[in-house]
């Protein structure tokens, strides 16, 4: 495919301070391991999942073509024909899809010739309408096209069509309901995760009443809408395809937490915090964040957060009927109060950390508290990733769409 770029650069991508030579040899070894997992019968899907999660992900787009279908338990021996172009105009979402696809220029590699890009945009429209047409229970949302374009660019039209269909009936299913209620419900996991790790950031965001819409496009496009470097997008897709469908919301939380200083320094109001958070930095340390998201998933699995997430709905309504929230927050003078609290907490934390360092050799996954995950990450990506990968493998098997949601109407 045209994405030679993504392959090439994968090799030299900066990997969080790991020496280049070291990485080259590890990379070679990892390629070997992936090929091996693919070569056995039956294919070693658990190993492939670990590879997709661990450092560097699946490394090249050739590997992605081979491994992504396996991560979705798909057999790609007999691909259906190219989707027919004739269903297009009749579909109820045709105009919306067209409008969005036309405006998707930024998703294509910068140097791509126009006619090639236009051909791909046609294919993109075809795939989307094909999947929608075959699955009347699925509803198009703006942002779906950002996901599909990624699959198209990596896999080509035919393979992308079958994978996208599978993904749409699984990982993306909740986003494709007639309403976005389930999507909103998933967003409700964000604040409880943040609270577990950094209550101060959580309180600050609550105080600002920033809501969670800043993370909406992250969630429903798997970050495809907001990251401009395609290599980062596919790296994340490796991760998400290997994981529980709620992993993107853990990743969203990790991004917010990564920016805790900026958040706390921000003016404590909805506009400022929304603005800050919705501008995603393009130089995030992806490998570290991925490993951290994996850790968080292990420490605070969705089942543990489900109740709180469900309660957020009622809290939110309560908050919105609270008329003059700006008045309220002005009276409480959030900035200074929170800054003071933050300082106090930092002091106690420094003491706690000194103690914690002494015990750091023992990895305790048991009762997690604030700074533990950072310790995990420092201890070595592989250890943490091992744990995370195991957990996701297990839950991915158990996972059924909307399982969590059914209990909390």
């Amino acid at each position: 495919m045209y994405l030679k770029k993504s392959k090439r650069v994968g090799a030299s991508s900066p990997l969080n301070g790991i020496g280049k030579q070291d990485w080259d040899s590890r990379r070679k070894r990892k390629m070997g391991e992936i090929s091996q997992a693919l070569g056995v019968t039956p294919v070693d899907v658990a190993a492939l999942r670990r590879m997709a999660i661990s450092e560097g992900g699946l490394l090249t787009d050739e590997m992605r073509c081979r491994v992504w279908p396996k991560l979705l338990n798909m057999n790609t021996d007999n691909l259906p024909d190219k989707p027919a172009a004739d269903l297009r105009e009749n579909h109820k979402d045709y105009h919306q899809v067209l409008l969005d696809v036309r405006r998707s220029l930024r998703r294509f590699p910068p140097g791509m010739p126009d006619d090639q890009r236009e051909g791909l945009q046609e294919e993109l429209t075809d795939i989307i309408l094909h999947v929608l047409d075959r699955n009347p229970q699925l509803h198009y949302y703006q942002g779906y096209h950002d996901i599909v374009v990624t699959f198209l660019l990596v896999l080509g039209e035919r393979l992308a069509t079958v994978l996208v269909e599978k993904l749409s009936t699984h990982h993306l299913r909740d986003f494709m309901d007639p309403t976005m209620d389930n999507t909103k419900h998933i967003l409700n996991y964000l604040m409880p995760i943040i609270e577990r790790v950094n209550p101060e950031v959580h309180d600050f965001m609550q105080q600002a009443e920033v809501g969670t819409i800043f993370a909406l496009s992250w969630l429903i496009t798997w970050f495809g809408h907001v990251l401009s470097d395609f290599r980062h997008v596919v790296r994340l897709y490796d991760f998400f395809l290997a994981c529980h469908p709620l992993m993107p919301i853990y990743f969203a939380a990790v991004i917010v937490l990564h920016r805790e200083e900026e958040v706390l320094d921000c003016e404590c109001d909805m506009a400022s915090v929304h603005h800050l958070l919705s501008q995603i930095p393009q130089d995030l340390p992806y490998e570290t964040l991925i490993s951290r998201a994996g850790d968080l998933f292990v420490q605070f699995p969705p089942s543990e957060l489900a109740r709180e997430a469900a309660q957020q709905n009622s809290q939110q309504t309560a908050a919105s009927t609270f008329k003059d929230f700006e008045l309220a927050s002005a009276q409480q003078k959030p900035d200074s109060v929170l800054r003071r609290r933050r300082k106090e907490r930092a002091e106690t934390q420094a003491q706690a950390q000194a103690q914690a360092q002494a015990q750091a050799q023992a990895m305790v996954v048991a009762r997690p508290r604030a700074k533990r995950l950072i310790r995990l990450a420092v201890m070595g990506l592989t250890v943490a990733l091992g744990a995370a990968a195991l957990a996701v493998v297990n839950t991915a098997l158990e996972w059924a769409p909307k399982l969590d949601l059914q209990f909390f109407p």
Partner: protein, 224 residues
């Protein structure tokens, strides 16, 4: 519901005054593709964006303007047009808005026919009558493709007591028109509420200075 304009400023007497400028919060709504993102971008960045993308959720843009020597922050909340986003998502952003900009596309009759639904949407979010609303017909540069005539649009605007502006986010010759539209809204907002920030520090209890330069209803309508 009371317009909460003054609440974005510091409250006199309670705390040392924040040296903050007033904030006008404006929400921009209308069907997908009518050009909400282009209009808000044009106002804030001064030019037509070369590539826009679908808006997912709500985007935020801001510009500091000056009216009669007062610096004012105009915050534009650019919302997603697709219907599914309105219901459960965008709600949050209707809170405490000071003005609403309805946008339709003059080359797309359907986007004009959706306006009653958008107005109803606003009503459901219990925006009071005193919250100024304006109607913007965008893409006037595409005269050959016109589907919604001025007369029809004006009638509609009149029946909802909104001023109508026909404009183009794209037209390079029409440099200041988009800006003028948002400035008109800002002027309206400024005149609606007395100046809170002219309060002396410590809130000496003096009532806000100067009767607002109250304009009559309808006195600020279209001059395009």
């Amino acid at each position: 519901m009371e317009s909460s304009l003054e609440l974005t400023t510091s409250l006199p007497g309670t705390y040392p005054p924040l040296l903050r400028s007033r904030i006008f919060k404006i929400i921009v709504i209308g069907d997908s593709g009518v050009g909400k993102t282009c209009l808000t971008y044009r106002f804030c960045a001064g030019k037509f964006p070369d590539k826009t993308e679908a808006t997912i959720g709500v985007d935020f843009r801001e510009k500091v303007i000056e009216i009669n020597g007062e610096k004012i922050k105009v915050q534009l909340w650019d919302t997603a047009g697709q219907e599914r986003f309105r219901k459960s998502m965008v709600q949050h952003y209707y809170r405490n808005v000071h003005a609403v900009v309805f946008v339709y596309d003059v080359t797309n009759a359907a986007s004009f026919r959706s306006l009653p639904a958008w107005i109803e949407e606003c009503r459901q979010h219990s925006l009071g009558q005193e919250v100024p609303r304006i109607l913007v017909g965008n893409k006037c540069d595409l005269q050959h493709a016109l589907q919604v005539g001025t007369e029809l649009a004006q009638k509609f605007a009149d029946s909802h007591s909104m001023p109508l502006f026909e404009t183009s986010a794209k037209n390079p010759d029409d440099n200041d028109h988009v800006e003028a539209i948002f400035m008109t809204v800002a002027h309206k907002l400024k005149s609606q509420k007395p100046l809170m920030l002219s309060q002396p520090p410590g809130g000496g209890g003096a009532p806000p200075l100067g009767k607002s330069e109250e304009e009559e209803e309808g006195g600020w309508s279209c001059n395009c």
